[in-house]
Every structure is written in C-alpha cells, then in structure tokens.
C-alpha cells in the first residue's frame, strides 16, 4: 500500500544564461544532477536546507511550475512534462507559497477560497459545501466574510491553505509557508499542517526552520542540489556537525545533549524535543 504521490527520477535541472540563446553546456547553472526522491502517500516530509540549496526549485518541479531538463517527475501518477495533465496535477498536488499576501486573489476570504473551484467549474452548491469545509479545516470559517487586510499573517496563510484544500488535493507542497510569519502565526500554520496530515493529506514542507522540520515524519536535508540526509527527524538532527557545516541549526535540546556528550556525559543525541530533553536531564541530575 506504499504508494508514492511524488516520484522524482534522475531529475536534472539547470538555468541557462538569459541573454544568450546558445545552449552551450558551459553556460548552464546546474541546480540538480540526477536527483532521485519519492514521497509516500499520507506522509509528512520536511525538506530542510539553507537559502539557495535548491529546495524551492525542487518544490516547483512537484506541480509542474518548472519542468525537468533531464529525468522525470511524476506527481499523483502524472508525468509533469505531459501538458494535457497540467490541471490534473495542479488539483492533485496543491502548492502554498511563502508570501500569503501575494497568493490571495479575492477581497473576501470565502471568495478567495472558492477561486480554484470556480476555475475548475465546480457546480455552485458543491462549491459552497467544499469552501465551508475547507475553511473549517483550517479553522478560519468564522472569518469567511472578512477581507484579507483584516487578518494576521498566520490567518492569511491559513486562508491560502484553505484555497488549496478546497480542491481536495492528495498532496500539498508548502514552500516556506511560515518564513514571513510571527511566532504565533507559525504555530497556527504548523498546527493546521499537522491536522491536515492527520486527515490523510500528504505534506511536503520546504523550510529552513529546524523546529518545524522536527515535527515531520521524515526530514530530507539538501545542500547544493544534493540530498545529504534523509531519515527520521531524530536521526537527522543527531548529525550536529554536518548540519552546522551546511549552514543549518539543530534544536537546542539536541545541541545541549551533544555538548554534554562531548564533555563526558552519557547522553543521547537523538533527542529533539524539550519534553524528552527535560526527562533526560532529570535522570542525570537526580542520579
């Protein structure tokens, strides 16, 4: 039953110099060379990396905003290079962007939420039902008549997510959805993401925030277009030095365990949350 919702096979992607029409190989700026990856249906995967490591470019391949220069990307079973499947891909694999302001089209929350359904030609009563359902799923139903300007950043981002959910996608790819939000907004959005995942929606979360990545089932760490780590969060974050060397952080709990281990304590560096950290410290201090 381990169906893959996104499958990236030998993905090669490069940018060419804009001013020159020549396809000379030397002008190519490679982002990926032969990248392989698959995302299991129903999973919550975080893609972690510093700015410019290629994580956003990867996300854009997942719903055919960018097309591979070599290799294949399959989203929801469709080849992203297949033009005729474009709308199927986009309704099955939704995408949420960083700046909530720039993805809200309408001046009323519920109208924005309906935008995708209007485009898809969904019938009115069905649309009403799906819009209400989507707004309830992100906890924004009571704001359905508000204008985006009256909402906080976190609320706007939840509206943007609702606009995607209304399409009933199998998978949502989120490209740094919390980067522009305040801590309260981040918490709201992360809570929404976890809830959606609990309801069976596959989540691919692009982020450079380790606390958010730590909430996923699987963390993929990217550097210079390569996957350098791909494992459960506890395993990934135990590589403190490697993560540091690629400009990333580890949770403070992990860092403390790591430093304690280095100074002679018998600690487990597979600790990423405060609860288990406090428990571990309790045992040490009470010994």
């Amino acid at each position: 039953m381990n169906e893959d919702i996104v499958k990236v096979e030998n993905l090669t992607f490069y940018y060419t110099n804009d001013d020159e029409e020549s396809e000379a190989a030397s002008d190519r700026k490679y982002v990926f060379r032969e990248l392989n990856l698959s995302v299991e249906k129903g999973s919550f995967t975080a893609v972690l990396g510093h700015n410019g490591c290629g994580k956003s470019t990867l996300a854009k391949h997942m719903n055919a905003i960018l097309l591979p220069c070599g290799g294949k990307v399959y989203s929801a079973g469709f080849d992203t290079a297949d033009d005729s499947a474009l709308f199927d891909i986009r309704s099955h694999v939704g995408m949420v962007f960083q700046n909530p302001d720039n993805q809200i089209v309408a001046s009323v929350v519920e109208d924005d939420c309906a935008f995708a359904l209007e485009n898809m030609g969904v019938e009115q009563s069905e649309m009403r039902r799906r819009v209400d359902e989507a707004l309830k799923a992100v906890g924004m139903y009571e704001y359905h008549l508000h204008s985006p300007g009256q909402l906080s950043g976190g609320q706007k981002q939840r509206v943007a997510i609702a606009g995607i959910i209304a399409m009933r996608p199998d998978c949502i790819v989120m490209d740094e959805p919390t980067a522009m939000l305040d801590p309260a907004g981040r918490r709201e959005v992360m809570k929404t993401i976890r809830r959606l995942n609990g309801d069976g929606v596959t989540i691919v979360l692009i982020t450079h925030n380790m606390d958010e990545a730590a909430q996923a089932d699987r963390v993929i760490v990217m550097d210079k277009g390569n996957i350098i780590l791909d494992d459960k969060p506890t395993e990934v974050f135990s590589n403190v030095e490697l993560l540091r060397s690629v400009g990333l952080d580890v949770p403070q709990s992990t860092e403390l365990m790591y430093l304690m281990k280095k100074s002679g304590f018998d600690t487990d560096v597979h600790i990423i949350d405060e609860e288990s950290c406090a428990n571990a410290l309790f045992d040490i201090l009470n010994a």
Binding site: V105, H146, G149
Partner: protein, 276 residues
C-alpha cells in the same frame, strides 16, 4: 497619512442598504446622479440631499465617517468654487480691489459646491456598503451582454478584482517605503516643485519593483489554482434580486421624478448659464 482616506473604502455591515442587490445599487446611484444633474433649483437639490441623508441613515454607519472622508477634498471644491466666483455676471454685491462678485456668482457657486459634495457622498454610499468584489461582480453582470461583441468582460472584471484586492496592500506598502526613506532623510513635503518630484523617485522605484514581484507571484499562485481564463468558470455567488431591490429602485426613480417636477415649477438658477 494615506491610510486615513476613507473614500472608496468598504465598511461591512448587514443593513438594508448592505443587502441590496449591487446591480440595483449601481442603478440607484445612477438615478441619484441624474437627480443632482437635473436639479436646477435649491429645492430640487434639497430633495436629493434628503434622499441621500435617509439612504445613508439606512446604512447604519456613523455620519462622522462621511464628514471625515469629505474633509480632504474640501480644498479642491473650494478652489473650483472660487474660480467660478469671479467669472459670472449679475448684480454686483461685493467689490474688493476692483474684483466684482455678483449675487448670481454666489448662488451658482454655492449650488455647484453642494452638488459636488452630494455627488461624492452619494457615490460613497455605494462603495461604503458594497464590497469591491461584489461591485465587480455586478459590473461584470451588467456588462455581460457585451461578450457577444467579443468584449473581454471576464478579463476586465478579473483585472478589477485584483486591482481592488491589492489597493490596500499597495497603500500600506507605499506608507512603509515613505517611512523608510524619511528615516534616511528624504524630504517629501517641503522644497521646490522639482525637488519634490525628485524626492518621489526613491518611493516610486521600490514600489514598482515590489508590484512587479507581487504580480509575478500572484500569477504563479493563480496558475497553481488552475486558473485558465473565463471559459468554463463557475461562480460561488450569483447575484440575485428580490422585491426590496425593485422597491428601492422605484422609490429612487419617484424621487427623481419629484426633482424634475420641482424644476418645471420654478425658474432655473442655472438657466442663463447653461444656455451659454
């Protein structure tokens, strides 16, 4: 600050006026404008004013809001009125330094100023009580017949929707950029005309850059939500009209008739000048 201007803003509510079909509201506003321009006498204008005051009362919004939104335009109105003062013939009432102001001039100027103020107030009732998006829907619906002659009605309304959605965002952005440049010593409100025009460059360039960035991102987000133009598109909300809409429109037409009747009974103030 720019944010304080309330013209064109929408104040959500659930009053009788808020609930009217926007197409009818546009119609009623058109009738009101007809009232203002067909009124030739102060009495006619007075009827239109009463019509406005009652309609505004029905919106449940505070009158203070209206006075505040009128305030910034007053200088413009006074300026236009002022010019009129000196160029209309009649019986001189005031003579200062050889400048003659006539009784006619005073009357016409007062009449004009009241008319402009009522015009702004009246159309504000429409925008205050109708969300821009609904207004766009209404315009799209009114223009729909033009589709037959290949007029891009959907594209036009989509453009309006997006423009309306981003006006507040861009105003906020302008405010931010202005603050940022002021913090770097930009002088925006003093100096000669040329200097002031030059001082706008540090505001306009960042504003353009960010608008283009927004446009690009929005286009991408719209594509990701399966946007492919107006074809095969359905709507969450379709406009519907009821008995109260027809009644409201009828009442306003009756008032318009009243204004026209008043005109016929009295000699026009503007008569002499409209024929020139």
């Amino acid at each position: 600050m720019i944010k304080d201007i309330t013209i064109g803003q929408y104040f959500p509510g659930n009053s009788f006026v808020h609930r009217l079909d926007p197409r009818f509201k546009i119609g009623i506003t058109a009738v009101f404008i007809c009232m203002l321009f067909s009124a030739d006498t102060f009495a006619g204008l007075g009827v239109a004013a009463v019509f406005f005051i009652i309609s505004y009362g029905l919106t449940g919004l505070p009158y203070k809001l209206m006075t505040r939104s009128i305030k910034p335009i007053i200088p413009i109105i006074i300026f236009t009125g002022f010019i009129n003062l000196f160029f209309i013939d009649g019986v001189p009432v005031i003579k200062i330094f050889g400048i003659i102001i006539t009784d006619e001039a005073l009357r016409v100027t007062a009449f004009m100023m009241i008319r402009i103020i009522l015009l702004i107030c009246g159309s504000s009732v429409l925008t205050y009580t109708t969300s821009p998006i609904v207004l766009t829907d209404a315009i799209e619906s009114i223009l729909r017949p033009l589709n037959k002659v290949h007029f891009p009605v959907h594209e036009l309304s989509m453009m309006m929707t997006i423009a309306l959605r981003f006006i507040p965002t861009l105003i906020e952005e302008t405010d931010k950029i202005m603050s940022a440049q002021k913090a770097r010593g930009a002088e925006l409100d003093s100096g000669s005309f040329m200097n002031r025009a030059k001082a706008l460059i540090p505001i306009l360039i960042p504003l353009f850059v960010s608008s283009f960035r927004r446009a690009e991102e929005l286009a991408l987000a719209m594509e990701c939500r399966c946007y492919r133009g107006g074809e095969g598109r359905t709507k969450l909300k379709t406009l519907s009209s009821g008995l109260s809409d027809y009644i409201a429109l009828s009442v306003s037409i009756l008032v318009l008739c009243g204004v026209i009747i008043i005109n016929m009974g009295k000699v026009s103030i503007l008569h002499a000048y409209t024929t020139i």
